[in-house]
C-alpha cells in the first residue's frame, strides 16, 4: 500500500505553507511610519499646511504603511511608461529620493524632494539633478555614471521609436553632454561646472525652457 501511495503522488507540487511561517508573517507585517508634525514639515519645506495635507492624504492612500519601497516605485513608473523598461531609471530616482539610504522613502523624503523641485531656487534644482546623476555620491559625474543614466532614460522609450534607436545613440548623447559640461576637460563634471554650464546655457537660450517648465509645474498639485 505504501508503494501505491508513493507512485500515486505524481507531478504534484509542494504546496503546503507551514503554520509557523504564517504566524511570522502576521507578526512582522505592519511596518508603520509616522511623519513628523505638520508644523515641523511646514518649517522645513516651502509648502503651506494645506498643501502638505493634500500631499499627505494622497501619499497615505497609496501607502498606508507610510513608506514606499523600491518595488512599488518601479511598478508606478512602469505604469507611466508602458512602452519601455522604466525599472533602471526608477532605481536611480529612488536612490536620489531616499536620503537615509535605507531602501524606503518616507513622507518626509517625498515632501523634501518635492519642495526642492517645485519651490526651490534654480541652484537647488540643479543640485538635486546633479545628485541624481552622481550615482555613487562622490561629488563627481564621470562618463560611466552618465552613460548609465542616459541608457536608463533611453530604455524607457521602448523599442518602437521614430527614428529607430541605434546602439551608439546614447553614447553620442553622453559625449555631447560632456562636451558642453566639462569645462576643464578632466573627464569628470563637478557640481560647480554643472551649475555654471546649465545656467549659462539657459540664460543664452531664447527658449528658456527651464523656466517655462517649472512655472507650469507649480500648479500641478
Amino acid at each position: 500500500m505504501g508503494a501505491v501511495v508513493g507512485t500515486l503522488t505524481l507531478q504534484t507540487r509542494q504546496r503546503r505553507p507551514s503554520r509557523d511561517k504564517l504566524y511570522d508573517d502576521l507578526e512582522l507585517s505592519v511596518v508603520c511610519h509616522r511623519p513628523e508634525g505638520l508644523e515641523q514639515l511646514e518649517a522645513q519645506t516651502n509648502f503651506s499646511k494645506k498643501e502638505l495635507k493634500v500631499l499627505y492624504r494622497g501619499f497615505k492612500n497609496e501607502c498606508p504603511s507610510g513608506v514606499v519601497n523600491e518595488e512599488t516605485f518601479k511598478q508606478i513608473y512602469s505604469q507611466f511608461f508602458p512602452h519601455g523598461d522604466a525599472s533602471t531609471y526608477a532605481h536611480y530616482l529612488f536612490n536620489s529620493f531616499d536620503s537615509s539610504q535605507n531602501g524606503s522613502i518616507k513622507f518626509e523624503d517625498f515632501v523634501t524632494a518635492l519642495s526642492i523641485l517645485l519651490r526651490g531656487t534654480t541652484t537647488e534644482k540643479l543640485q538635486w539633478t546633479f545628485n541624481l546623476y552622481d550615482i555613487n555620491r562622490d561629488g563627481y559625474i564621470n562618463k560611466e555614471e552618465m552613460t548609465d543614466i542616459v541608457k536608463a532614460i533611453y530604455d524607457m522609450m521602448g523599442r518602437f521609436t521614430y527614428p529607430a534607436l541605434k546602439t551608439d545613440t546614447f553614447k553620442q548623447h553622453v559625449d555631447a553632454f560632456f562636451q558642453k559640461m566639462d569645462k576643464n576637460r578632466d573627464g569628470v563634471v563637478t557640481l560647480d561646472e554643472f551649475i555654471l554650464s546649465c545656467q549659462e546655457v539657459y540664460s543664452t537660450c531664447s527658449c528658456s525652457k527651464w523656466h517655462t517648465m517649472h512655472t507650469i509645474f507649480v500648479v500641478c498639485i
Binding site: 494622497g58 508602458p82 518602437f160 521614430y162 527614428p163 545613440t169 517655462t212
Partner: protein, 590 residues
Amino acid sequence: MAAGVATWLPFARAAAVGWLPLAKKIMPKPPVDKKSRNDEILFVNVSGIRFQTWKNTLDRYPDTLLGSSEKEFFYNEDTQEYFFDRDPEMFRHILNFYRTGKLHYPRQECIQAFDEELAFYGIVPDIIGDCCMEEYRDRKKENQERLAEDTEAENATDTPLPPHSTSRERLWRAFENPHTSTMALVFYYVTGFFIAVSVIANVVETVPCRPLKGSKKDLPCGEKYTLAFFCMDTACVLIFTFEYLMRLFAAPSRCKFMRSVMSVIDVVAIMPYYIGLVMPENEDVSGAFVTLRVFRVFRIFKFSRHSQGLRILGYTLKSCASELGFLLFSLTMAIIIFATVMFYAEKGTKGTNFTSIPASFWYTIVTMTTLGYGDMVPNTIAGKIFGSICSLSGVLVIALPVPVIVSNFSRIYHQNQRADKMRAQQKVRLARIRLAKKGTTNAFLHYKEDGGFQDRDSDNALCLKNRSAFEHQHHHLLHCLEKTTNHEFTDELTFSEMCMTESVGYRTSRSTSISSQQGVSTSCCPRRGKRRAIRLANSTVSVSRGSIQELDTLQVHKTSAGPQRCLTLKGATRLLTIGGPPLCLSQEHC
C-alpha cells in the same frame, strides 16, 4: 499602561496620604501638570458619518494614527473636524478599540478590507482580542493560501513562451502542456492510445482462447497468437522508449527528471521487454523473467499524465500521509493483539486453522475489515467472543481516519476546480491588461496625430477628444521624455515599416540623434507616402518650431478636488523629468 489602570491612578495617589505618618523622609513635591487642559470632545467625520469622542480616548494609544499628531494632516479647519475618506462601518470597530482596549474582528467583513483599514489607522493586528483572534487567523490563512495558489496559477506554464527559447525548451513545454501546440496534442493522444492498447493486450493475453486443432487443452491467447502479441508489445515499447528519450533530452534538469516518479514508472514499464530480449531461453532464468512481466502492469500508471483526477487522488493521499500512517499503525497494533488472543483461545481445538499467530493474522484482517470469508472460523466460546470483539473494533478503527481523508480530498478537489477556472479567466484577464496598456500608448499617439501640438486656434484642434486632467499630464510627461531623447514614440506597425525601408537601403541620415528632425523625415517618407508617416513628420516639424507654444498650450488646471492620488504621484513624476532638461542641452533644437 492600559487605560483602565490610568483611571485609578489619582485614587492610588490620594490614598498615599496613608503613608505620611510612617514616612522616614519628606515626600517629594507632586509634578506640576502644565498642560492641564480640560478634556475636549473631538469630531471625526468618516465619509459623512460623524463620530464624537473624548480626546483622552484617542490619546490612549499614541502609536496609532488617531492617537498621534498624524491626524492633524486630516484636520479640516473650516468645519473644525477630522475628515477621513474611509469606510464608516469599519471605523466603528476601530473606535471601539480605543474605547474598550479590545479590537474585535467583524465576521461578515472581508479580511483584506479589514487589514487595509488596520494598516491605514496604524493598528497592529496582534491586539485583536482572544474572542476574535482564532477566526481572524483562520480567515487570513485561508486568504493567503488562496493568493499563493493564484500567483502559482499565474506563473504556471500556460503563459506564452519567451520569444527566444531553444528547441529543447519548446520540446519540454510541449511535453508538459500538450494543449499548447497541435503536434504536442497529437503526440499526447497517440501515447494515451498506446498505453491503453498495451494494457488491454496484457490483460487479453491471459484469457483462454479456443485450443489449437488437435489439442484438447484451452490455451491462453498469449500463447496461441504469440507473434501478434509480440508485435503489439514491440510497437508499444518502441513508442514508450522514444517518448522517454525525448523527455530525457528536453528536460531542463536531467538528474532531477530521472529521479522523478513519472520517469521511474516509464523505465519500469519498458525494462521487462528489453530484459526479455536480452535474456537467453534458459529454463531457470525465464521463471524469474515471467515475474518481471508483472511490472508491465505499471504502464497503467502512465495514464496519470493524462488524467487530472488521478493526480488529485495521489495528491490527497500524499497530503493525508499522517492520517493514513495512523490508520496503518493502529490497525497493525489491533491485528497483532487480536491474532495473539485468537491463537491462544483456539489453541486447544483439534484440527484448528489457527496454527500459528501469523496464520491468525489473516483471520484478524478479514474480520476487522468486515470481509468475513469464512475460511477460518473460531470454534471455542472464548474464540467466538474475542472474534466478535475483533470485528466491532475493526469497524471503529477504520471509520475514524476516513472522514479526515475525505474532507482533505474535497478541499483539494475544489481548489483544483478553482485553479482551472482561474486559468481559463487568466487569458481573458491578460488580454484585457494588454489592451489597457495599448490604450494608453495609442491615446498618446492619436493625440499627436490629431495635431494636438498645433496652435489652439486651428481647426484641427477642435476635433480633439475631451481628455481628463490625468491624461493631459501623462501626455505631457511622455512628450518631455521624447524631447529628452530626441526620439518619438510610434507603434509597432510604423516601426516595422521603417525597419523595412531602412533595410531596403534608403538613405537616412547617419547620426539620427544629433541631426535635425527635418532631414530624417524627408528622406524616410517620400518612398512610402503613407499618411501616418507624413503626419508624424509634420507634427515633429511644427514641434521643433513651436517648443514654447506647445508647453504653454498644455494648460494644467489647478485641481484641488481632483483625483489627488494620481496627481500627487503624477506631479512628482513629472517633476522628476526635470532631470531631463540638462540632457536636452546637447540637442540643437531643444
